[in-house]
C-alpha cells in the first residue's frame, strides 16, 4: 500500500475526536448501575401494593386507581390481570401471575425483574434508598462539572437551530442515516436534555414527595404533584419513560456502531465521519 493510499484510507475513516470528558464518562456509568438497581428494587417496592392512584390517598371505599395489577381465579386457575383506566387485560405470564401454570408466582412484576427475586419489601427499600442517594449525588456532580466545562451549553441545552433541524434529523434516524459529528445532533440534544433536566429531577422529586418526613418540611411538594399518591403514580410513569429511553438508547448505540460508541464512553475518543474537518488535538 502506498503512503498516499494509506493516508486516504485513514482520512476516509474520519478523525478520532476527544468527545466525552472524564466527568461525563464516570457519571454515565454510575447512573447506569444506579438505574439498574433502582428499577429492580423499585419494582419490588411496587409489588408490595401494586396499584397507582390519583390524589392524596388510595381509594379503598372509592375508586381513584389508574392502574391495578393482581391475580384473579378464572375457571379453576389463577390468571394475572392488569386494569388500566378501568379496562382489564389478561396479563398472565407477565404481570399478576407468572412462572409455571401449576404453581404461579402471584406478584405484580415477576421475580426475574425484582431485587430480591422473592417478596421482600424491606430489602427492596434498603437497595432503593442506597442507590437513590448515589443517583442524586451523581446528578449534582454531573451538573456542576457540566456547567463548568461547558458541556451543558455545548451539547445538552438545545438551541433554536436544533429545534428547527429536529424534524429532518428524525427522518434521518428513521432511515438509519445516522450522522457522526463532533457534537450531538439535534435529536440527541433534545433527548438528553429531557432525560437530564426533566425526567431525572422529576423522578427524584416525586420520590421525595412520598416521604412523610419531607412532606412536613416541604409541603409544597404535595401541592406541586397533586398529592402523595399522584406523586407515586408520576414516579412510576417517569420510570416507564426512562425504561423507554434506555431501550431506544441501546438501540441507537447498536445502530450507530457499538464499538465506536462504547469507546467514546470509556476512553472519551470517538470517531467521526470523514466529512468533518480535522482539528488540532484530533487523532488519526
Amino acid at each position: 500500500m502506498t503512503e498516499a493510499a494509506d493516508t486516504q484510507r485513514r482520512t476516509a475513516r474520519g478523525p478520532l475526536v476527544y468527545r466525552q470528558s472524564v466527568a461525563t464518562r464516570v457519571t454515565h456509568w454510575v447512573w447506569a448501575i444506579c438505574l439498574f438497581f433502582l428499577l429492580l428494587s423499585g419494582l419490588q417496592i411496587f409489588n408490595a401494593h401494586p396499584a397507582l392512584y390519583i390524589g392524596q390517598q388510595s381509594g379503598f371505599e372509592f375508586d381513584n386507581a389508574l392502574l391495578e395489577i393482581g391475580a384473579v381465579r378464572s375457571g379453576g386457575e389463577l390468571r394475572g390481570q392488569t386494569r388500566i383506566f378501568g379496562t382489564s387485560f389478561d396479563t398472565t405470564g407477565m404481570l399478576g401471575a407468572s412462572g409455571q401454570a401449576d404453581k404461579p408466582q402471584l406478584t405484580a412484576f415477576p421475580g426475574a425483574v425484582t431485587i430480591p427475586s422473592y417478596r421482600d419489601l424491606g430489602t427492596g427499600r434498603v437497595v432503593h434508598f442506597f442507590f437513590g442517594w448515589v443517583f442524586l449525588a451523581t446528578m449534582l456532580a454531573w451538573f456542576v462539572a457540566s456547567l463548568v466545562q461547558g458541556h451543558l451549553r455545548r451539547d445538552i441545552i438545545p438551541r433554536g437551530a436544533d429545534l428547527k433541524a429536529a424534524p429532518l434529523d428524525a427522518v434521518d434516524h428513521v432511515r438509519f442515516r445516522l450522522h457522526h459529528n463532533r457534537s450531538y445532533g439535534p435529536l440527541q440534544k433534545i433527548t438528553y436534555f429531557v432525560v437530564l433536566f426533566v425526567l431525572f429531577p422529576l423522578i427524584v422529586l416525586t420520590g421525595l414527595t412520598m416521604s412523610p418526613g419531607l412532606n412536613a418540611s416541604w409541603p409544597w411538594l404535595l401541592d406541586l404533584f397533586g398529592g402523595r399518591q399522584t406523586a407515586r403514580t408520576i414516579h412510576f410513569g417517569t420510570m416507564v419513560l426512562l425504561v423507554l429511553f434506555f431501550v431506544v438508547h441501546i438501540g441507537m448505540v447498536i445502530a450507530a456502531g457499538p464499538l465506536n460508541e462504547l469507546r467514546s464512553m470509556i476512553t472519551g475518543w470517538y470517531r467521526i465521519s470523514p466529512a468533518n474537518p480535522k482539528l488540532e488535538g484530533d487523532k488519526p
Binding site: A48, Q57, F60, A112, I115, S117, M210, Q229
Partner: protein, 263 residues
Amino acid sequence: MSRLLLSRRRFLQASAAAGSGLLLAGCDQFDFLGQLDHPARNFMEQANVLTYNAQRRLLGEQTLAREYGASEIRQGQKPNGSTEPSTPQYVALRQGGFTDYRLQVTGLVEQPLSFSLAELRNMPARSQITRHDCVEGWSCIAKWTGTPLGPILDMARIKPEARFCVYHCFDNIERGLSGDVFYYESSDLVDAYHPQSILSYGLNEQTLPVANGAPVRLRIERALGYKQPKYLHTIELVADLTPFGRGNGGYWEDYGYDWYGGI
C-alpha cells in the same frame, strides 16, 4: 460512511440479544442482599442513617405534618397488620371495655407513671386529620384524637441518659409454637415530643376500634404506619435499643425495615 450503517435485520437481532441479556440479569443474583447480616447489605443500610440525619437537620423538631380538611375523610381507616390480638390478657381487657387498662411509663424516668383510659381521656386532647402512609405504598386520611405524649413524658421527668422511647404492645403479631412474638416499636425523643405525637383513643369521631389499635395507638405523623404502634400498653425510656426484640428497635425493623421510617 456505509461501514457505520447497519442493516435493519442485524440491528433487530442485536437489539433482541441485548434485551434478553437485560432480563436475565435480574433473577436471583442479588438475593444475598436479603440476608440481614450480609456486609454489602449492612453497607447499604448506612444510607438510611444518612436519610435520618439529613431529614432531622432539614425538618426541624416541631414542623407539623400536613393536616387535611374534613372533606378529605372519604373512607374508614384501613386496618393493617394485627387487627385482633388474641392473648388472654388483651381479650380480658377488651371484654371489660378496657376499664382495667393501664398505660405505663417506665424505664429511665424519675417518676414512673400509670394512667387509666379515663385519665388519658381527661387530659388535654388534640385532634388532627392526617394522612397515614403505609410502607407498602398506600395512603389513607383519617381524624385522630388523643392526648399529646410530650407532656406525659415531662410528668415522668425523663432522665438525661434517656435517648429513645420503646413502645410495648399487646398484640401477638406472630403466633408460633415457641410462643408469641409481640409487636414493639421505638422512636427518638424528637418524634416522641413532636406536637402531633398523640396517644390516640379516637378515630373519625368514634372510639378507636380494635382493628385500628384499641384502646390506645400512638401517632407519629411524620413517619410510616409501622412506626405508629397499636394496642400500646407501656412506654419505656431507654438509652439503648439493642436489648429489645432482635435489637433493631422494632418488630418490622427486626425483619430488615429501616428504623427511622420517615421515608
